[in-house]
Subunit: 253 residues, 2 copies
């Protein structure tokens, strides 16, 4: 039995969500609410001591880290639709792209998302209430990020992240000019993991992602949104829980 603990279909939570839908695997979808710090509650820390979503429960075994969960699903459910190339060289190309999301692309988009949305949320609480919430967070770096969100991220940091986002967008556009999918001829986890961050950038970063400047990126985002699995994933998300992309809890696992 599979249970996925996640936020809504955006950022790191989207990766295993979409992978599960693409593979047609039946699973229980347990959606946490970042707005009231649900992932920092004790019941969830018993599942993932790092208090981060997504986390997958497979017959009682817990797998964490969004990209690791995706590879795990490929390792275990090899019979259904495959999201990882069989060819080792192509598989390596796929991993270079998923690794890049985790080490670069997800972070810059996440900081801007936090500045725009988590900041507002964090300021709804009194200093005391907020600190009580932050103290429950086990990872020091996450505590720092929450405090920065409330105080406002340093301007220098925001500018540097915007530079990285512009670079990332150019990199994706260039790659999609030479290949229909990021890791080659087939749709793979490379596409899912990058889509998790890029989806919605036309609204969040219209000066960077638009039909004129990045036609291939826009087309690729549209192409993934048109896939039956993506449509089903979004349709099955409770309306009141539909989060905007590049949303608060962007960086979590």
């Amino acid at each position: 039995m599979l249970t996925l603990y996640s936020f809504g279909p955006g950022a790191n939570s989207l990766k295993p969500l979409l992978a599960l839908y693409e593979k047609g695997l039946p699973f229980t979808r347990r959606q946490l609410n970042p707005a009231n710090f649900e992932h920092h509650e004790d019941w969830f820390k018993k599942i993932n001591p790092n208090a981060q979503v997504p986390a997958l429960d497979h017959d009682g075994k817990i797998i964490t880290e969004s990209t690791v969960i995706c590879e795990y699903l490929e390792d275990v459910f090899a019979d259904g639709p495959r999201l990882r190339p069989a060819d080792p060289y192509r598989r390596a190309q796929m991993r270079i792209w998923t690794k890049w999301v985790d080490e670069y692309f997800c972070w810059c988009v996440s900081t801007i998302g936090w500045e725009r949305m988590v900041s507002r949320m964090a300021r709804q609480y009194s200093e005391e209430e907020f600190e009580a919430y932050v103290r429950r967070i086990p990872l020091y770096e996450q505590q720092v990020k929450w405090r920065r969100a409330r105080a406002g991220f340093p301007q220098e940091m925001l500018e540097e992240e915007m530079r990285k986002i512009a670079f990332s967008v150019r990199r994706l556009e260039a790659r999609l000019a030479e290949s229909p999918w990021l890791a080659g001829p087939d749709y793979t986890l490379a596409d899912i993991c990058n889509f998790a961050i890029a989806n919605g950038m036309e609204r969040g970063f219209p000066e960077l992602v638009n039909a004129q400047d990045t036609p291939r990126l826009v087309e690729w985002i549209g192409r993934i949104n048109e896939r039956p699995a993506a449509k089903k994933m979004f349709a099955e998300t409770p309306r009141d829980k539909l989060e905007r992309p590049a949303q608060p809890a962007a960086r979590s696992g």
Copy 2:
């Protein structure tokens, strides 16, 4: 035919090097010299446009990124000694550890290594010579790092990296208290990738890594050094090219 382009047996270069020795695969070892920026030369940029080692040439196909190369070797050479658990859950645990090296552990140790050793190297050149070298570096972040090395890293950054190193050391010690190897009962890429960074920390960070405070970490480092593959790898490194661990080019691929 396999050719590995790398620096000496430390940091990211050590990962595929030791994996190749452990698997007993014949390969050509092509050792570049970071002290004269050899990896930024045009001939090598034809192999890896990012100008980073390690890079593996397998029958003309180039695979980059140290952790990706290690997984590639497991995918292709599945018949010999295995460095990746067959069980998907254990494999996921292994990937959480290799990912942690790439996203956290390697960076903090690398910054201190650069401050201690690359800085000196960078200052041997005149401003003009140095800038000419730096302009050849394709990755913007690497240019920034080289310039910081020459100017000296900000004190605040060095303190934050030392905090992360202390946290990393405690984390490894705690894990090795509950398991003989990082991903469970077997020696895997999790151990190789962490060893790549941790080896030599008794000398580089004696206040953090020592027989009294971190007995299990020290024992684990010793245990890997005693493996025939590690002994052979170090023995076959040209003496004049033996780099100290936590060495200049620590973070490269």
